[in-house]
């Protein structure tokens, strides 16, 4: 059995844990640079605010309805997500953290034991061999387990969740959606009848894994629900939706095909790019911001244990501006030797940037992409390499250790500058970092 647990209105819920006055008010959370809406509470949804609504456009409506607005407090959301995941681990054999607010749980062995205990049977039985009576008793026990998971997360963190339980990942996703639709905290799909009913109630648009183009194709073939979809012959599905589509069909029929991804797969490219807090023509500022993005990307590269063989830099103006001269330029260079050294990468990025920079342009964003990775152990020495690599390796290791212990950017390269405010993104409505900064704790007056 698989459970899909997802947090209800996660970002808004995180804010509400530490600010009780938000509980019944409409709340929206904005993206980087306070650009557009990326999260809404149920009340805000009901008022008609949509995901992606640009803040400056909906600001009057926000004021009119007294909607509470927050910048994304990723430090807080990330920490709350960690706590939720920790609670979930107690209830599953394995957990796949699918996104910041959604996880798949492998319940093999866990739920079986729990339900035997529920039914008053002795629990000292080999976990995998638990055969629970199907039908009502089994279904109720499963649902109770889902409720227990939800209650544990709520009591430990204050975050409300919806739980979908089913034999496969795709069906668990379906069940979760049905739970949300019906307003119930938990939905179980256990028997074949359950599967059939759930599929019949699900529109083909709403099936996880079937994107826009495929939906169009299927609709034109008379497929309207998930049930219609699973009744298609495998040959047809394979031809039009590839083998992935066939796997999805099998999963929806109740046959597990997808394993839980317990380890995230290593990235093949790392990109760090941000829009600036304000547009700038200043060469020095853009270069400084770029240095920081390179440092950030390099840190991620080292965490992955890879070396980059190529580097791309790009700069662009504000694409929405009508009066600014539009400029986009980018260039990729191969590195003389594969490296993960921040200083070396910044040096290369600077040289590339000098070729891209144009006077008089109001830059809105820049970024770096590190590519052509090789594993660190496979480093190849080159004939003309004159860099003292072991020495710089030691420097990078020390820097990473200090930054990990004392906080981001405790130690950085001079090129990264001393005042992030010159170009760092705007986050004017940030709530306190309640769980990661001792100076920003929830304070109670007594």
């Amino acid at each position: 059995m698989i459970a899909l647990v997802d947090c209800n209105n996660f970002y808004a819920s995180c804010e509400r844990v530490f600010n009780a006055r938000l509980r019944h008010q409409p709340v929206v959370i904005l993206s980087n640079n306070d650009g557009c809406i990326i999260a809404r509470s149920a009340e805000a949804k009901a008022l008609g605010f949509k995901m992606g609504d640009p803040y400056f456009i909906v600001k009057p409506k926000i004021k009119q309805h007294n909607v509470q607005v927050f910048s994304s407090n990723y430090a807080l959301y990330g920490d709350m997500s960690r706590r939720v995941t920790e609670v979930l681990r107690r209830y599953a054999r394995d957990v796949e953290v699918y996104s910041i607010d959604e996880s798949f749980l492998d319940l093999k062995g866990c739920y079986g034991v729990a339900s035997r205990v529920d039914m008053g049977l002795p629990s000292g039985v080999a976990k995998n061999n638990c055969r629970v009576a199907s039908g009502v008793a089994g279904g109720v026990a499963l649902a109770n387990y889902g409720l227990a998971i939800r209650q544990a997360v709520l009591s430990a963190t204050g975050i409300p969740t919806s739980v979908g339980l089913a034999p496969t990942k795709a069906l668990a996703k379906l069940a979760n959606r049905l739970a949300k639709q019906s307003g119930e905290p938990v939905c179980t799909i256990k028997t074949n009848l359950d599967i059939k009913e759930a599929l019949a109630q699900t529109n083909i648009n709403d099936v996880w894994g079937i994107g826009g183009q495929y939906v169009k194709l299927l609709r034109s073939n008379g497929i309207a629900t998930a049930l219609d979809f699973v009744q298609l012959p495998d040959d047809f599905v394979k031809k039009h939706l590839t083998i992935q589509g066939v796997r999805l069909a099998h999963e929806l029929r109740g046959l597990p095909c997808a394993e839980l991804e317990v380890q995230p797969s290593p990235k093949k490219a790392i990109c760090t790019a941000r829009s600036f807090g304000q547009f700038t023509t200043n060469y020095g500022l853009v270069k400084e911001a770029l240095s920081n993005y390179v440092a950030n990307a390099a840190e991620k590269l080292r965490k992955q244990g890879c070396l980059a063989g190529a580097l791309n830099v790009f700069v662009e103006t504000n694409l929405h501006s009508k009066q600014d001269e539009q400029y986009f330029n980018s260039k990729t260079v191969k590195l003389p030797a594969s490296t993960d050294d921040t200083a070396e990468l910044i040096g290369v990025a600077h040289r590339v940037f000098d070729q891209l920079y144009k006077e008089g342009i109001r830059y809105a964003k820049c970024g770096v992409i590190l590519k052509e990775f090789t594993p660190k152990q496979q480093f190849q020495e080159t004939l003309f390499d004159d860099r003292n690599r072991p020495k710089h390796q030691g420097l990078m290791e020390t820097m990473d250790k200090l930054n990990s212990r004392y906080g981001r950017n405790t130690l950085q390269l001079a090129a990264q500058g001393f005042n992030r405010k010159d170009w760092d993104m705007q986050r004017n409505m940030l709530s306190p970092k309640y769980t990661s900064n001792l100076d920003e704790l929830l304070t109670i007056k007594v």
Partner: protein, 129 residues
């Protein structure tokens, strides 16, 4: 006076005896572990004001609060009353709940009250210097 030749040993030697404590070494005390600071349900909260001085909580103290802990009669809790955060003493009486906020007399919490227990205060850390 004639010089005295003293032999110089060119190789290093382990100095001293092995420590008698080696067989009894324990790992160092870890306060994070003791206060359960990294537990999923444990949060830190700051207190401003000296209403709870008699309970051992000074102005500016940091409270270690466990959201998953069940409150017991007489314990200190962080709660939300009418949309505001409070620290109070929790009492069970005749199946009901009474809350004592600071110096005031305990008040009965009715089922229609806008009241929620946020967590139980397990430790208070007072900075004295």
């Amino acid at each position: 006076m004639s010089p005295v030749l003293i032999p110089l040993f060119n190789s290093t030697v382990q100095a001293g005896f092995p420590s008698p404590a080696d067989d009894y070494l324990d790992k160092a005390i870890d306060l994070n572990e003791h206060l359960e600071v990294h537990k999923a349900s444990v949060f830190m909260v700051k207190v401003e004001g000296d209403t709870f001085v008699t309970h051992g909580i000074l102005d500016g103290a940091m409270l270690i609060v466990d959201k998953a802990e069940q409150p017991r009669h007489g314990c200190l809790i962080v709660c939300i009353l009418d949309g505001e955060f409070h620290v109070g003493r929790y009492f069970t009486k005749n199946g009901g709940v009474e809350l004592e906020l600071g110096d005031e007399k305990p008040r009965f919490i009715a089922s229609f009250d806008d009241f929620e227990i946020w967590g139980v205060v397990k430790h208070a850390i007072n900075k004295l210097l």
